[in-house]
Structures are given as structure tokens and as C-alpha cells.
């Protein structure tokens, strides 16, 4: 069977009702969540928390975020490690999102550890990709991507470490527009 070249299917917004299919909470009918906001695996357990701000500085209450990451050993293919999670901003009263995961290790070379994040929301006709770097990592200045970003925009990708007696969390806000607009990436050959 020969394969004909095909034309890409266009993107459309996730809309206001995505929780129904993508982040369902109800399970009385047996249709519970397939993908949660939790990733378990080797590595330091961390929580990542933040908000998504629109161009007027208002926290978005219907954004969906997905993360993709390596485990604490820098492995993307460890058995039983999904490396993928999803969270919405509509559940918490303050419209924040929360991920419970492990801190990723670096993939190799000069790469610093980071988490890939994909941002969807009503009003976005196409998703946007970004990276979460960790502010307490000394490898950031040598990271081949981080170090090549305009100096005044790098900081938008840094998550701030907050330690309490029994937990480690990182704070990472996303700004869709404005002076602090988060750096978003287009993936090569992709979109």
C-alpha cells in the first residue's frame, strides 16, 4: 500500500467544556479521568503550582495544561513511567493549577532539567508549547535552549522553588501576553 502525502488537520480551540472529555472528575458512570495531574516515578517528589494570566492580567479559569517530562534519572522511557499529566485551572477557587510529579533529571549533554508544558484554553485556536526550567539549577546558563533566548525573556521560564517542612513545590505562572509574556516555542517541522 503506497502512502499519499496528506495535509495537516487544522487546530481548533479546546473550548469552554473540555473538562467533560479531558479532565473529567465524575466517575459514577464509570467514565473517570484517564490522565490525571499526577506523575509517579523515580525522583524527588515536587508540586508545581501556578496561574495562567490573560492579556488583561486576569487569571484564566478554563485553561488546560499538559506536561511531558523525563523521570529523575533523565529517562523518558522508564517502564511504568507515563511522563505525561494534565491539569485544568477551573477546579481551585483561585484558578491555579497543580501538578504532583517528580523533578526531572537532565537528558544529557549541556541540557538543564526542564519540563515541557502545553497550554490550551478557550480563546486559543492553537495550543502553545513552553518549558519549565528550575530557578535553583546551576545548569540553566549552559542549557542550549535557555541560554539562547533573549536575556530579558529567559526569566519567564523559571519556576521558583518553595520549601516547607514536608514538601517541595515550584511556582510557575504563565503570561499569555504583555511585558512578561511567557516564551512559547514552535516545534520543528510541526506547526
Amino acid at each position: 500500500m503506497s502512502n499519499e502525502p496528506c495535509l495537516l488537520t487544522p487546530s481548533q480551540t479546546v473550548g469552554p467544556y473540555f473538562t467533560l472529555g479531558l479532565t473529567p472528575t465524575r466517575d459514577e458512570t464509570g467514565f473517570g479521568p484517564l490522565i490525571t495531574n499526577e506523575i509517579r516515578g523515580d525522583g524527588e517528589p515536587i508540586t508545581i503550582r501556578g496561574k495562567v494570566f490573560d492579556g488583561a492580567g486576569v487569571p484564566v479559569n478554563d485553561a488546560m495544561l499538559e506536561i511531558v517530562q523525563a523521570d529523575g534519572n533523565g529517562r523518558l522511557d522508564a517502564p511504568e513511567f507515563p511522563g505525561f499529566a494534565r491539569a485544568g485551572t477551573g477546579e481551585a477557587a483561585d484558578n491555579s493549577y497543580t501538578f504532583k510529579t517528580v523533578k526531572p533529571g537532565p537528558l544529557g549533554g549541556d541540557q538543564a532539567p526542564y519540563i515541557c508544558m502545553i497550554v490550551f484554553m478557550r480563546g486559543m485556536l492553537l495550543h502553545a508549547c513552553t518549558r519549565i526550567y528550575f530557578a535553583d539549577e546551576s545548569a540553566n546558563p549552559n542549557d542550549p535552549v535557555f541560554s539562547r533566548l533573549p536575556a530579558d525573556r529567559r526569566e519567564t521560564l523559571l519556576a521558583r522553588r518553595v520549601e516547607t517542612a514536608d514538601a517541595v513545590s515550584y511556582e510557575f505562572d504563565i503570561h499569555m501576553q504583555g511585558e512578561r509574556e511567557t516564551v512559547f516555542f514552535s516545534l520543528a517541522d510541526a506547526i
Partner: protein
């Protein structure tokens, strides 16, 4: 910005779709592939992560006429929606997770934010999921969704549609889209549909398919989905390739 992006996807902000104005990124995205090409640290997570085959939906998840019954059947016209997930070279993407969600036959979502004055169907959730087989094929049984009003402009109505989310093998191919139905008069008036470049809009409309139609039971609609392939293998768009 790549030419493909221009030709297939809508822009981040589109004047007639009001909520896009404050929500789409204002600056051009940074080309990750270009940054990575200049360095020797190897590819990043975006091009190395493989997501296919990681998710296992439940047995009834693909049948929206059954996955939320409470002692009765959902109302409306049963439809089969089926097609293939392919990359741009036409190769099937097996083990891709497809998640769908939609309004019921009356145009109402089972969602706390939906205040449209149309009845809720106690036997219909409006959400389903499935994974593609070895040929990239998926199949859902559901109910024809109704059109519904929204507040973008005066007398605004969304054409009947089913929301689709596709997670295939590569992150580059992550796609969220909407499938529309042929002949819907609301398509001409819908800013979300019209935000897509004219040449690519038709790819969002399913085809009625008598072959998928089940006699005495359900109409069939065919909807193929083409996503970007893995960025791991450099492509030569001008080469003839070995097919």
C-alpha cells in the same frame, strides 16, 4: 514561522473570535528546532518523548450511547464516527489516544458552565475515548450533537461539532480540533471555523459514508485526522521519497 503552520492552522488571535484577542500569545513563537540544531547536546524532550501506547481507555469508553446510561437510552440520532490518524506522509499512527466531547442532541453540554436553556439527557455524558489500531483507525458510536448558541456576537450559534483531542507518538503531532458535519448552514457564519485558512477548512468537515452506515441503526461519518510527524526524522519536502 514555518509555511505549514500558515497553511493549516488558525492564527493565535482572530478578530472575529472575541476571546482570542486577550488569550493568544502576542509574540511569535521561538523556533525550537532552530535553537537545537545549533548545539550538540542532542534533541530535547519535545522531539524524543513518545506518547503513543501509554493510555488504556475502558471497554465502553468509545460508545457514547452506552458509557453513561442510567436505565435508559440517550435521545437523538445515533451516528458512527470513524476514520484514520495519519502523519503527513500518509503513514498510520497506531496506538494514538483520541478523546472526544460534545453537546447532546439538544445542543447542551453536561457541564456546569453551560447555561443554554436546552434539556440535559440523563443517559448521555457526551464524552468518549479510544485508541487507534495498527492501521491508525478509530471508531466511536455516539449521538448527533445539536447546534448551540454562544455569546461571541448577536445571535451567534456554533455549528454542530464534536471536539477531538489526539495524542499520537510525537509531541509535535499533539492536536486539538473540532469535527463538523457536511451541509451545516452555520459553518458559513462561524468565526472559529473561519479562523482556519480557507484552503484548509474543508479538512474539518466529516464525510457522510454509506459504508460506515449501519442498516436500521446508525448513519456513518468518516473523519481522517492528519497530524505532524515526529520531528526526530528530518524531512525533505522536495524529495520524491521512496513511498
Amino acid at each position: 514561522m514555518s509555511g505549514k503552520r500558515q497553511s493549516a492552522h488558525p492564527p493565535y488571535t482572530y478578530r472575529d473570535y472575541k476571546s482570542s484577542i486577550l488569550r493568544g500569545p502576542a509574540r511569535d513563537p521561538v523556533d525550537l528546532g532552530e535553537l537545537e540544531a545549533k548545539q550538540s547536546s542532542g534533541a530535547g524532550v519535545e522531539s524524543r518523548a513518545s506518547l503513543a501506547g501509554r493510555f488504556r481507555p475502558g471497554e465502553l469508553d468509545h460508545d457514547l450511547t452506552r458509557n453513561a446510561r442510567r436505565g435508559g437510552e440517550p435521545l437523538g440520532e445515533r451516528i458512527v464516527v470513524s476514520g484514520r490518524v495519519l502523519d503527513e506522509s500518509g503513514s498510520p499512527i497506531p496506538d494514538a489516544l483520541i478523546e472526544i466531547w460534545q453537546a447532546n442532541a439538544g445542543g447542551r453540554y453536561l457541564h456546569k458552565a453551560d447555561d443554554h436553556d436546552a434539556p440535559i439527557d440523563p443517559n448521555f455524558l457526551g464524552a468518549g475515548r479510544n485508541v487507534t489500531d495498527r492501521e491508525g483507525r478509530y471508531r466511536f458510536l455516539t449521538i448527533q450533537p445539536g447546534a448551540y448558541p454562544w455569546k461571541n456576537h448577536h445571535n451567534a450559534w456554533r455549528p454542530r461539532h464534536i471536539h477531538f483531542s489526539v495524542i499520537g507518538e510525537s509531541l509535535a503531532g499533539r492536536l486539538v480540533t473540532q469535527m463538523y458535519f457536511p451541509g451545516d448552514p452555520l459553518l458559513d457564519l462561524d468565526p472559529i471555523f473561519h479562523a482556519v485558512p480557507a484552503a484548509a477548512r474543508g479538512r474539518l468537515i466529516a464525510h457522510f459514508d454509506l459504508g460506515l452506515t449501519q442498516p436500521e441503526f446508525a448513519l456513518g461519518y468518516h473523519f481522517d485526522i492528519v497530524v505532524a510527524g515526529s520531528g526526530a526524522t528530518p524531512r525533505d519536502d522536495h524529495g520524491s521519497g521512496a513511498g
